[in-house]
Amino acid sequence: MMRAVPVIATLILLLAASSLAALCIGVTMISPLAAVKMAWLHDAADFVIWQHRLPRSLIAILIGAALGTAGTLIQGVIRNPLASPDILGVTQGAGLAVTVVLLLVQSGAQGWLPLIACLGGAGGALLLTAYNSGMAFSPVRFALSGVAVSLTFASVTEFLLLTYPVEINTALLALTGSLWARGWTHLAPSLLLVPLIGAGFLLAKPLDLIGLGDEAATGLGVGLRPVRLFAIALSVLLTGISVSVIGPVTFVGLMAPHLARRLVGGAHLTLIPTAALAGAIIVVLADTLGRGLAPPMEIPVGVLTAVIGAPYFLWLLFRIR
């Protein structure tokens, strides 16, 4: 559609503006002009910007884009507006796996976290699939059982954190859905997200056709099984890697694709980049807001997205039932 191009351009501008705000806002307030100058010149005096806020914003952008893309792929392949990685048990499954490993292994596990998180996420998705197989598919039951699985994982994670307070190290504390203390070292795994988001575009056409129903899609030459497998695997990877960097952040994968669909319609070639940009803006804004609301206290990104996302999910459930 024609109007996709201006929409995407506007979102890019919005993302630039929110990233600039992210550089300025925090315990020390910096004027936008000074912030840009400092990030650009990069000298020792600009510790706050260069060591903290810049890498943190870049990570927020990448993870927000990853979550928006993952949600779009899942919603497209399951043809269910209620679907998203967090509602499928992927996000919390990844979070639980990371927590367990960090509790068991005090050090040296960092490099393995992305893989561990992806395996945990895949486990969550498999559990939900097993629970829902063998019956006629119902979107609402699927979503509700996904919420139940997610809540169970989240509770077990919470329980572990409460029962082993001594073993909790900073590595673990950082993984509770917050961008606190994320720096350049955490950017490397986040960069893996870039090619994975790119790979999502390969699914644009088959997902469009799957949107016409399984029968019509097959009639148009789509192999349903490989497309489903590819889309779900990509979503699990995108979500798992994100969780391994900042912990579970929920509802971005649900909201960003909805927002994008309203803006540019249902064709995935424009839907995927729009949802990625929307996800990036949501996470950057939530992180900035979390730092700016009550400094020096930080409200985690995951808390803010849940505050907006949970009522939205309830409204969706209400509308669909």
């Binding site: 056409k205 029968e215 097959t218 009639g219 148009l220 030459g221």
Partner: protein, 271 residues
């Protein structure tokens, strides 16, 4: 009419476009179609008729590999269906499902453009030939004025015509239509049936599930009658339109007269 009937007679004697041998289909463990053998003649318009639940949709689903056969074989143009890649099959057979979902946020032109997907690359880029095929299909189904509206905002009948336009844009030699006229007013029913006939006259093979027997007898070259997952009869309308057979299959008492307009068989219900 006479001439065109002779024409279709010739076509019935050619190689079949689709040849089904000894086909058994199941949903889970429930057998729906058992040992069905049937040919769809090339370049002819075949109407598939039979009571609700007799397996018409199930049979059509197996012809586009949506439902894999338990036993038996299906050959398209003499080549086993298994030898076609998914895309190659989609370039040979187009299928209009009976139940049409309402895609969200998709315009009519976008939907019809999806019909070109077996012919274009993985980005779905449309070349000049694709655009021409899309515009032609929109015009043939008289939905050009709807092209920029959202499919979700259309009436049931408009939506059905738009979907048919998508199938037509696929430009396949074989076209399967599951109840293409169900939601249409009488004017558009006749339009679609005439269109199916003209596609057959161009050499395409058209199979349509129809419920109006008189329309089937009048517009189709060939009739296949199913009951309880079995083929009861197949052949030209005047060979199939027999009161005993229709009583057997549909439990109706009727007599057959000549359609005063086309001289094809016409069914009249008896009290």
């Amino acid at each position: 009419m006479q001439i065109s009937n002779n024409h279709s007679q010739d076509r019935l004697e050619q190689n079949p476009a689709i040849s089904v041998v000894d086909l058994t289909l199941r949903y889970g463990s429930v057998p729906i179609i058992e040992n069905l053998s049937l040919d769809f003649p090339k370049g002819a318009f075949t109407a598939l008729i039979g009571p609700n639940g007799c397996g018409k949709s199930t049979l059509l689903k197996s012809l586009t590999r949506i439902l894999p056969p338990v036993t038996g074989s299906i050959a398209i143009d003499g080549i086993p269906m298994g030898d076609y890649s998914a895309k190659a099959l989609a370039r040979n057979i187009a299928f209009l499902p009976q139940v049409l979902p309402v895609p969200d946020g998709i315009t009519v032109r976008q939907l019809v453009a999806y019909g070109r997907s077996p012919h274009n690359d993985i980005w779905g880029r449309l070349g000049g030939g694709d655009t021409a095929a899309i515009e032609a299909a929109l015009a043939q189904l008289e939905v050009t004025e709807l092209a920029d509206r959202y499919v979700a905002d259309l009436s049931g009948g408009q939506r059905q015509r738009v979907w048919i336009a998508m199938i037509v844009a696929q430009q396949t030699p074989i076209i399967l239509l599951d109840e293409p006229t169900t939601f249409l007013d009488i004017n558009h029913q006749v339009e679609v049936l005439r269109f199916a006939r003209s596609l057959a006259a161009q050499g395409k093979t058209v199979v349509a599930v129809l419920h109006d027997l008189n329309q089937a007898f009048r517009y189709a070259d060939n009739i296949a009658v199913m009951k309880g997952g079995k083929l009861v009869a197949s052949g030209r309308p005047d060979a199939v339109a027999r009161p005993e057979l229709l009583h057997d299959v549909f439990s109706i008492d009727c007599s057959i007269i000549k359609d005063p307009e086309s001289a094809t068989p016409m069914l009249v219900i008896k009290d």
